[in-house]
């Protein structure tokens, strides 16, 4: 069926038009009605309103519906609530979700995990809902803003009588002393009130603050930027949230970056007992007062990608990292997360001594990692033939290392020098006193023949021992999407302000002989508009009580 959408003024309207695009005459209501008109989108058809939609139109129409948008938002809100029942997986650094939820919450927890609700906000359906809301935002806005823009920029001055008397603020009555310049003095009066006025001989259109009509669409643009930012946070490099250990005194590479971080010292301070509440004191709890990592961030400037060379580093930032006070280098943030106060041996500086007399030939520095292969001490040469970081003997009685941590380091040397056999003598050295006794260094050396030389390695004082006192566990975070989130929200705020503090006001007026017909429209603050119209009429010599301007339709 082809609808007749031609108005009596001769304008051909599009399907779905409610008020004639030209003269504003209501196209569907009976001529007798005086009820206030529905002025949404100025009565123009939305883009999607078509007489016979095809497949693409149907998709478009689905997303262009505000009703659908509201349902989508409600479903998303309900979905988001599921994610708040139990803690989400993303809260944890190390844990096994497949057992955690069952252990902590029982069967319900297990069901929760198996339904995938333990990562609600990263689930396909939640992201799909967000994408659908995004689509709805874009399509709803386009579907309305373009026709509205056209309607508002092509407004006709002279409107149909019915359009005027069916506004909510209406005046219809005779005008005395109607002279030729009545319209032009009306223009002056309205201009004084801040209106922009267009007029012809006997009709007038005054409007102000039209820009506030764009408020909702600006909000939508902001929301779209916001949504895009959170949906594409996952793009490589935009978001990093990792945790790494940084041993004190070491420069450690931060993986997947060209940055290195040196932990120059970690301190933890605990609350003294008298500062703690009684409950804590009774239970013997210790509460840290301060954790601090003195951190230096370096950037690699050369030889970064070549593992055969040492990278060239340049200091870029220095900061004492405390809880909630991260190091921030252009959005690359390092937060304090945890610490480990177990000391680890970094290096020892033993002396080569004659076992019987205690005569020393000198010292050499022996580091646990990347140890040198040979050491020259006095007249003697020490060749490191093997080393074990965590010494133990396996079932076959062979020396092995249990781990790569220097828990029980042992160094096997071949000592060469004066009065020693040409092939040298083997000598095993345990830097830690406890290991010396546990593994019986002397007994091993006796078997190796190391004792025959009469030489021994020994640390003479604590100054010859270097420990990594602690390790700091730091959280590396990069969130490059955040600025876009803020920009999006800023635009939303701008849109809200536009809509809240300014309202589009319009006054139409026409003279039919001696009769003045006036209609006025706004979206908010009708009282203000009514008062403004009443004052205007007063200026023009029409005395009317502002309450009488209100049109309540047929019920009065």
């Amino acid at each position: 069926m082809i609808q007749n959408t031609k108005c009596e003024c001769g304008h051909q309207n599009r399907v779905g038009t409610v008020l004639c695009e030209a003269c504003g005459k209501p196209l569907y209501d009976s001529d007798q009605s005086t009820e206030p008109l529905e002025m949404r989108y100025d009565g123009v058809a939305r883009r999607s309103q078509k007489s016979n939609p095809n497949f693409i139109d149907r998709i478009w129409n689905f997303f262009s519906s505000v009703k659908v948008a509201v349902y989508l938002i409600i479903i998303t809100l309900v979905g988001a609530m599921f994610g708040t029942i139990f803690e989400q997986e993303s809260n944890f650094v190390y844990f096994d979700p497949s057992t955690f939820y069952k252990q902590k919450y029982g069967t319900i927890g297990d069901i929760y995990y198996k339904l995938g609700l333990s990562h609600t906000y990263e689930s396909w359906w939640f992201v799909t809902l967000l994408v659908m809301i995004g689509a709805s935002l874009v399509i709803c806005s386009l579907d309305r803003v373009l026709p509205l823009y056209k309607a508002l920029s092509r407004q006709k001055i002279r409107k149909h009588r019915q359009f005027l008397i069916r506004q909510r603020v209406v005046y219809e009555g005779p005008v005395e002393n109607l002279t030729g310049d009545w319209i032009s003095s009306a223009v002056t009066s309205l201009k004084k009130k801040g209106y922009r006025v267009k007029h012809d001989e006997d009709a007038l259109l005054a409007e102000k603050q039209r820009f506030s009509r764009w408020g909702p669409y600006i909000i939508h643009i902001g929301l779209i930027i916001f949504l895009l930012a959170i949906l594409f946070r996952g793009l490589p490099g935009l978001n990093v949230d990792k945790h790494y250990w940084f041993p004190e005194g070491e420069i450690t590479k931060i993986p997947d970056s060209n940055l290195y971080l040196k932990n120059e010292g970690f301190t933890v301070e605990y609350y003294p007992e008298e500062e703690l509440p009684e409950k804590f004191r009774e239970s013997g709890r210790v509460v840290p007062k301060l954790f601090e990592t003195k951190a230096v961030l370096y950037q690699c400037t050369a030889d970064c990608d070549d593992p055969s060379k040492d990278p060239l580093l340049e200091e870029v930032k220095r900061h004492d990292i405390r809880v909630n006070d991260p190091l921030n280098y252009n959005g690359f943030k390092v937060y304090q997360f945890d610490f480990d106060l177990t000391p680890k041996l970094r290096s020892v500086t033993p002396s080569l001594v004659r076992a019987d007399t205690g005569e020393s030939y000198g010292k050499f520095k022996l580091s646990m990692t990347n140890s040198e292969e040979t050491y020259q001490v006095g007249p003697y040469t020490l060749e490191l033939s093997n080393k074990y970081m965590d010494f133990d003997l396996n079932e076959e009685g062979k020396p092995v290392s249990k781990s790569n941590d220097p828990n029980a380091p042992a160094f096997l040397f071949v000592i060469k020098g004066p009065d020693l056999p040409e092939a040298g003598v083997q000598y095993i050295y345990f830097p830690k006193q406890i290991d010396k006794e546990r593994f019986q260094q002397d007994a091993i050396n006796e078997r190796l023949g190391g004792l025959d030389s009469g030489l021994a390695l020994d640390v003479l004082g604590m100054e010859d021992v270097d420990f990594i006192a602690s390790s700091s566990y730091l959280n590396i975070r990069v969130d490059r999407a955040m600025p876009f989130v803020w920009i999006g929200l800023g635009i939303v705020m701008l849109g809200l302000v536009l809509g809240f503090y300014w309202h589009h006001r319009r006054i139409w007026l026409r003279l039919d002989g001696q009769t003045l017909i006036l209609g006025a429209h706004t979206a908010k603050n009708w009282f203000g508009l009514r008062r403004e119209v009443a004052r205007f009429l007063q200026d023009m010599g029409v005395d009317v009580d502002e309450k009488h301007l209100e049109n309540r339709g047929n019920q009065v």
């Binding site: 599009r14 883009r47 693409i56 139109d57 998709i59 478009w60 990263e122 689930s123 396909w124 992201v127 799909t128 967000l130 994408v131 659908m132 995004g134 689509a135 874009v138 399509i139 386009l142 026709p147 895009l228 949906l231 594409f232 996952g234 793009l235 590479k253 993986p255 990608d305 070549d306 593992p307 055969s308 990692t369 990347n370 140890s371 292969e373 490191l384 033939s385 093997n386 080393k387 970081m389 965590d390 396996n394 092995v400 290392s401 249990k402 781990s403 790569n404």
Partner: protein, 175 residues
């Protein structure tokens, strides 16, 4: 309204499908830990070899690669070394490379171990745990079987014996 309406509509819908599809796809298929799985491409790495030169996985494209993560202190890694060596000798002529990636030990330790056990396939030093993190290694040994195209055909966690290794390599070189 203008004639441009339909194309504009299609372009906007396409945009939504592409962007939305990407967003949904990356949450569904995006591996959160970044751990390569069976069938995925093997992440590249650049490590210093015991021969003193830098090796990357890329240079072995076109060959079947067995990547073995090991350490001298890991008992099972040590006991599977002879099997790896035997298979290296057996298959090296058929474009099969065995790469032993040592996880975080220093040169001296690795050097002494390699000499003691007598392995001569390429051994690389992962001193910064770069490859360990890229491959998400948890238990050791872990072995990745990578085909000529660079795709991971299978992953084995734990000790490998001679026959298992043989079967896996045979599968790997199948065209």
């Amino acid at each position: 309204m203008g004639k441009a309406r339909r194309p504009v509509q299609i372009v906007i819908l396409l945009f939504i499908i592409v962007l939305g599809g990407y967003a949904i796809g990356s949450t569904v298929f995006g591996d959160h830990e970044g751990r390569p799985t069976q069938g995925s491409t093997s992440p590249d790495f650049k490590l210093l070899g015991m021969d003193g030169s830098v090796h990357s996985l890329k240079e072995y494209r076109g060959k079947s690669v067995v990547i073995n993560f090991w350490a001298t202190w890991c008992t099972y890694c040590v006991s599977e070394m002879p099997a790896l060596q035997a298979q290296w000798e057996k298959w090296r002529d058929q474009d099969v490379v065995i790469l032993g990636i040592n996880t975080g030990e220093d040169r001296l330790t690795v050097d002494r171990f390699v000499k003691q056990v007598g392995v001569d396939f390429p051994i690389l030093l992962d001193s910064e745990n770069e490859a360990v993190q890229k491959y998400g290694i948890v238990p050791m040994p872990t072995t990745f079987f990578v085909n000529k195209k660079g795709n991971i055909v299978s992953i084995h966690e734990g000790e490998l014996d001679l026959t298992m290794l043989d079967e896996q390599i045979e599968k790997l070189i199948e065209p």
